[in-house]
Symmetry: C2
Subunit: 252 residues, 2 copies
Amino acid sequence: MKPLILVTNDDGIYSKGLLSLYRAMNTIGQAVIVAPDREKSAVSHSLTLHRPLRTEKLAKNIYALNGTPTDCVTIAVSKVLKRKPDLVVSGINKGGNLGDDITYSGTVSAAIEGTILSIPSLAISMEGEKDYRFATAAGYAKKLAGIILREGLPGDTLLNINVPNSTPGKIKGVIFTRQGKRIYDNSIQDTFDPKGSKHYWIGGGVPLWKEGNDTDFYAVKKGYVSITPIHLDLTNYGALDYLKSNWNNYIG
Amino acid sequence: MKPLILVTNDDGIYSKGLLSLYRAMNTIGQAVIVAPDREKSAVSHSLTLHRPLRTEKLAKNIYALNGTPTDCVTIAVSKVLKRKPDLVVSGINKGGNLGDDITYSGTVSAAIEGTILSIPSLAISMEGEKDYRFATAAGYAKKLAGIILREGLPGDTLLNINVPNSTPGKIKGVIFTRQGKRIYDNSIQDTFDPKGSKHYWIGGGVPLWKEGNDTDFYAVKKGYVSITPIHLDLTNYGALDYLKSNWNNYIG
């Protein structure tokens, strides 16, 4: 039996990156798309609880859902797919998902949802702002998905993959990295509605990064594919020890 | 000068838990509310990028914003407050934010945003389903906020606080905990629109938890206030070492 691979994203069902990923997955297994019916970038790990959701079958093995990437994974696994998938892949995102910014990412969140459901999962994103060479990322997605299907992944861990926007021949290699740290650029633009009332629009700005040649950001900048293993345990164990030693007196 | 304390939540500006937290913060500093104009539960760390946002001043130091908790923090710090706040507090949430579920939580995400902006931050939630005794949680919020203002927090780390729904006298104490692990209960209800077309509604279900007497879940269940130090680095360093040792051959 072919491996069953759930394909989703946060750029929406009509994204070329999704199609490219779907085709790559169909060369190594049976791919099924369940993806948001419109763009859902920066929705993070949102679940839609306040209204019912609907799937629409657009073609064989391709479904649109009027919800978030996380909704797509949970509904796909419970309601759309005939059995639990062997792999969840999310992407190919237009733009990198690097450093602290992954906490905003719908692309990564779909892979987090897969991981919560105990399904090996990866998120794949392409650096850049336009003219994405999705075929390059799709090639790496295929290779890495194949390894995951054969070797598995460490427990409770997904792979966050970022690919430079280059042709395959120009990629320098693959590096395992840690999540980098962004120097926050708080970019909010003032804007006005037709009646002259002030509004704020979040976005723009150029991210700056802290140095560190073992980070996701650095690898992509230098022309390498970055693979960061991400887990769901946010506990800061160092801080936990510190608080136990130092704060118990204050709390009494 | 009094400490400046930004107060937000994800249950929306009319939540009693928010008001209770605001009053508690005003006893130790100058509190300012910037909170979503409606309920924004389970929005996770969403940022609103596709439309402008508007603040509405409802009273002195109380602002509603038509966005997510994360929007509230970033807009408050950049546009509403006269200076960078000394503390961000988020809550008091109706219902616990425990284990892996914190990745969905708007309450915790507001504190994550504060931390990204290098501001000490805490999220506080009350276990239970109704008849919340917010005064109990507000008392702990006041005490812990006071300690943070005096002692600071370990770098890049926020406190995720969960309080049992009891009177102060019945709380057994405070425990520092790690994030627990939920056994995922995939609860999705089939429902039908007036024309008979099938929809899915996510929600309901009773969470089950893996054992572990050092977890957030266990502490609250046993009647203690749980404090988990959370950081933003999702890298699984153990898995990173494993992949470096074992996967480089496959990748070639």
